[in-house]
Symmetry: C2
Subunit: 391 residues, 2 copies
């Protein structure tokens, strides 16, 4: 059981039509000159962009904008945004979208007041000392970035390196959630979001800390919620309640509420980031491929924890006489769940050629000793073996 400091101060505004409160919220937080970042055309097609712009302007706030944030958001875009903020004396940032728009905005937030290059933070050379405040209108529940302290940026020029930053200064000041805004998400994105939310929870769940029963239970509650609600969202995309539970679970899974007392693993995220960085794989889809492979490779490290996962999350019958079998049934059930919601479970389905696995594995070094992960520390050969299991 570990000590912790926890502070998740984001003001959550949840319900129908809440996007219309964006102007007032910006005013409440003292915003005067705002840069809005968003992704593709969907927020324009849906009318959300027009609503937000009208509300912000009606609040008497000067609005600037940069559309075109890409999935696996790019360092080059962030650098442009930083330049614009400096030129226009922006004092508050706003993102419409999911993890990509929010992470791009977070990187901008720490980059603007920093005299060096913003990549320094993602390369682990510097830690931000100050940041612009930011707000979010959430349209895609997955990354959990709307409440978290983390962001992930891809450096395309450096060969598709995807790196994350954890920094409490980047927790949004407010986040607006209207589940109706997620009704039009394509099924694949809905499923990939579910996979991402589950992955954030499982990274925390698989820990070596003993006596963390309370947060174990909280993690299990969240995983069961996604397993229940993701299929509802796929079958009935305008089911408000299912969309709402997915949306709120997205935040809870990643704002560190589930981290208290625990040290998470995070190897599967890093193994997946290499796939997204090199092949632009959808993050949630990459995680659906990697997580079961990782589990098969490491479950013997703590068979009892995998039994708990199998029984308490995946609904496997408890069998104390056959623990290993119980553990494996849980992993198989997770794989089946991913399949059932239309996620890939092999690298082949993901479109990753199996000729490059060693090259990928060589890159997955995050710990000072060149390993990755905390539950089990994996070296390059371990990473390669997991990629091989995922073929």
């Amino acid at each position: 059981m570990r000590d912790f400091v926890y502070c998740a101060p984001t003001r959550v505004v949840f319900g129908r039509d809440t996007e219309k409160q964006v102007g007032q919220l910006l005013k409440d937080f003292g915003a005067k000159r705002v840069l809005l970042q968003y992704g593709g055309g969907s927020v324009k097609r849906s009318g959300l962009y027009d609503t937000v712009v009208a509300c912000v302007k009606a609040a008497g706030i000067e609005l600037f904008e940069m559309g075109g944030v890409q999935p696996n958001p790019r360092l080059s875009f962030v650098r442009e945004a930083i330049e614009l903020c400096r030129k226009e004396s922006i004092d508050f940032l706003l993102a419409i979208g999911g993890g990509s728009a929010i992470d791009s905005t977070k990187a901008t937030a720490v980059g603007v007041p920093y005299e060096g290059d913003v990549w320094d933070f993602y390369a682990g050379k510097q830690q931000p000392k100050t940041a612009l405040p930011l707000g979010v209108v959430l349209t895609f529940p997955a990354a959990g970035s709307e409440g978290s302290n983390s962001s992930v940026i891809t450096n395309v020029e450096a060969g598709g390196i995807k790196r994350g930053l954890g920094c409490d200064l980047t927790r949004p000041a407010f986040a607006i959630y209207n589940p109706e805004l997620t009704y039009t998400l394509p099924p694949y994105q809905t499923a990939a979001g579910a996979s991402d939310i589950m992955a954030h929870t499982m990274e925390r769940y698989f820990t070596n800390e003993p006596d963390v029963d309370f947060s174990d239970r909280l993690c299990e509650s969240l995983l069961k919620t996604i397993i229940r609600q993701a299929p509802v969202c796929l079958k009935d995309p305008t089911n408000y309640e299912a969309r709402a539970e997915m949306m709120w679970a997205s935040t809870v899974a990643h704002n560190d509420f589930l981290s208290n007392f625990r040290l998470g693993d995070w190897a599967s995220h890093q193994l997946s980031h290499e796939l997204s960085g090199a092949y632009d794989s959808t993050h949630g889809a990459a995680l659906a491929v990697i997580f079961p492979a990782w589990m098969k490779y490491v479950y013997k490290h703590d068979v009892k924890r995998f039994c708990r996962f199998a029984v308490n999350v995946m609904g496997v019958e408890p069998d104390f006489f056959h623990e290993e079998e119980t553990a494996l049934k849980g992993i198989a059930a997770l794989e089946n769940f991913y399949r059932s919601i239309g996620m890939p479970v092999t690298l082949k389905e993901l479109g990753v050629p199996d000729t490059q696995l060693r090259e990928l594995a060589e890159k997955v070094k995050r710990n000072p000793d060149g390993t990755v992960g905390q539950f089990v520390k994996l070296n390059t050969e371990d990473c390669l073996a997991i990629y091989e299991l995922a073929r």
Copy 2:
């Protein structure tokens, strides 16, 4: 499923020796002149008082103090504290203790900048517009006041009227948790704390909102944690892990994280407040008496929810052919649990004479129409019937 706004910004600092960070935390939050409130002699006997005072002074902060906060904290004490704050230009408040010290401090926080009498807020005549900031060193996990927006004050002069205030301005800026500080809690207080934490969760659990499965599960996780850890704390008072889970559960049960999407009931709290107000009953003990009686009186309103409680919280075997029986088994199991940890389950054990029940019931009017509660709206005769069931 209800809309919600949720913001629980308290900085949680959790672990051994964390009380020694109090000076630095006060400095981080800009405190210069601090009023410390605490209760009886236990914080002096344990050495905690000396540690805190030394840390605060070492940080160069001017410290004033008022000891002697009583259980069911008094309005008269709060008025004195407000006077002192004004006289000494206090800019930050600090509480050492549990719900009583914290609630007294919260009432002081809203009272200082208000030109009228602070009771106006608790009588529901006014809502605070501003408040002094406050911090907490927690010694008694129960009330959850260390992370909540609520406080309860007793007006002894007006005949023992106990009333609450919900106000986000009173959420502590920081809260310090060292589970070791709870090792010396007497068994009765430990058990009463467990009852209080469970009550905060059950008030939220029993709702008429459909489709709130995620927060149902979170509530169940918390209740099962207390049912597991309270007996450990009683048997092994220096069990760090069990004390830690109780301590963190205390906050989660009452900082509104479990309220999202739901409207809670709160009748049992009001029925209990009348007992504490008139007979100075320990809050958690009064709740242990009232909650099962309330359940027996209202369970027919939603037998299926009581079945869910019985099965998912109390471990009763699911029996879909006999729902009412299943529901009643859950209530009986809760009553047995309270007994097993040494809590009273009758008014007689609590020392409340059964001659005054009508007089008590007449006072339990909180809704505009004179009823109390939301899950089931209870009139005076209903309240009397519940008190009778609790005899």
